[in-house]
């Protein structure tokens, strides 16, 4: 029987990329909580022209939650807001080479954190949240909240 997690997941779990705090973050979100078994804080530094220049995260959770956070950070770093929004949970899971079926929900947290962080950025910079929501809707449609 194989290990429940593949080598890519284990690599991101043991060597998480972009882990830590971002002092000059201008977009911050915290989703989940320890009672639910997982929690993630995402910090982004977004340039004036809408590029995610830097990213840091911290995650409380299982190996799948930590690896998904790490993989998400690696994929969206350097992307524009619009490009980052198009990165969905399926992309994260497939970039990780898959996670056990019951652990897929752990990987959704990173996608939620990104959307919340972008909402924080739009609010702080006085941009229209309607524009952001329209962009999210355009690429992802309506979907139920995880928590």
């Amino acid at each position: 029987m194989k290990s429940p997690y593949n080598d890519t997941v284990m690599d991101h779990f043991m060597n998480p990329r972009n882990m830590g705090d971002l002092e000059d973050a201008n977009a911050v979100a915290e989703v989940g909580n320890p009672a639910c078994g997982d929690m993630m804080r995402l910090m982004l530094k977004i340039t004036d022209d809408g590029v995610i220049e830097d990213i840091k995260f911290k995650t409380f959770g299982c190996a799948a939650a930590i690896a998904s956070s790490s993989m998400t950070s690696e994929i969206i770093k350097g992307k524009t807001i619009e490009e980052a929004i198009q990165v969905g949970n399926n992309d994260i899971v497939s970039a990780l080479g898959g996670v056990p079926e019951v652990k897929v929900h752990c990987s959704i947290m990173a996608e939620e954190a990104l959307e919340d962080a972008l909402k924080d950025y739009y609010t702080k910079t006085g941009k229209s949240l309607d524009d952001l929501n329209a962009m999210i809707h355009k690429y992802k449609g309506d979907r139920p909240e995880h928590h």
């Binding site: 882990m19 009672a35 078994g37 911290k58 959770g61 299982c62 930590i66 019951v102 652990k103």
Partner: protein, 395 residues
Amino acid sequence: MIYLDNIAGCAPDKRVVEKILPFLTERYGNASSHFYHLGRDAFEAMEEARKEVAQLMGANSDDVYFTASGTESNNLALKGVISHPDNLHKKHIILSELEHYSLQNPARRLISKGYKVSWAKVTPQGHVDTDHLASLLNEDTVFVAIQHANPEIGTVQDIATISKLVKASGAHLHIDAVASAGLLPIDVDTFRADTLSISGTNLYGIRGTAALYIRKGVKILPVTEGGGQEQGIRAGSENIVGIVAMGEGARIVREEMSSYVPQLQALGENLMSRITSLYDFIHITGESDMSKRLPGNVSFWVEYIEGESLLMWYAVKGFAVASGSACASNILAEDEDDLEASPILTAVGVPTDICAGSVTMSLSRTNTQEHVDRVIAETPDIVDRLCAISPAFNK
């Protein structure tokens, strides 16, 4: 790999392996085939093993019934007792909150058949609250199940007090001694057990064989019916290899427990005191007084850190440990409902808003001081890594 998950089954003793080898080669008879030597030989080996298992628990050998697992023994006790015609008029079952799934799940299923199931509360240290248990017992109570010791949090119950209460009520007392066999003395008369489960895998035997003690006179029906083996209580050709292994394991632990248990107690105390002194946010689950725990059993949770990630890091560093978190242990679960926090941790009041899983390290006679030293040496690196990544950690 350093094996610290002995509660999930110990490595078979070499003497057990040597003893069973002939039964895999030339001594392959069926114990029910009495007309030729091979069959009688298997029967005699089985009865020799039965004597050993009986002796381990202070029972008569004709009150010992072999089964395939502790789970089966528990199922047989519960379902067999309540379904006997003489017991059918009573519809109340009591389990402690710490009972194994092999009692909890069949008991829950019985609710739809008109049974009432009550859960005897436990203290934060995991001891059955005997006042609460006493308040639950009534003339309708047919079956009470109490674990001798809990594998996940190590707490050992005061069976003498509990059995006095239960027997005064006239209810059937079932003791699940699967976790304690081989680690603590078991005596069916001292315990006043009507039925008692033990398993071969915790006796340095092999998986696939366990036993149920049934006191003479107990009204019980079989769950598996067929050719009348095990005095008609548990039909099916006997697993002679497993039974011989269990017998040899029972002999070994009975003869040698007094020498290896003190060593296990010392190792367990050393492990517990050192692991808790590493950080003020490592908390023991269950009883912190080692004299009231299973020897060599240490369980804890770490604030700010999720249980499965802790378990994975221990595995990466070469330690086999168990998790109290259903999330981790059920990683191959069918659905998310199976990922709920451990009911054991909830029962002993571990704060589930900040705790998502615990770790249990269970030692056996094969573990050494060096194993303890190594797990203590590696733990800070694991905890520091996971604290560094935890958004809940703020120290």
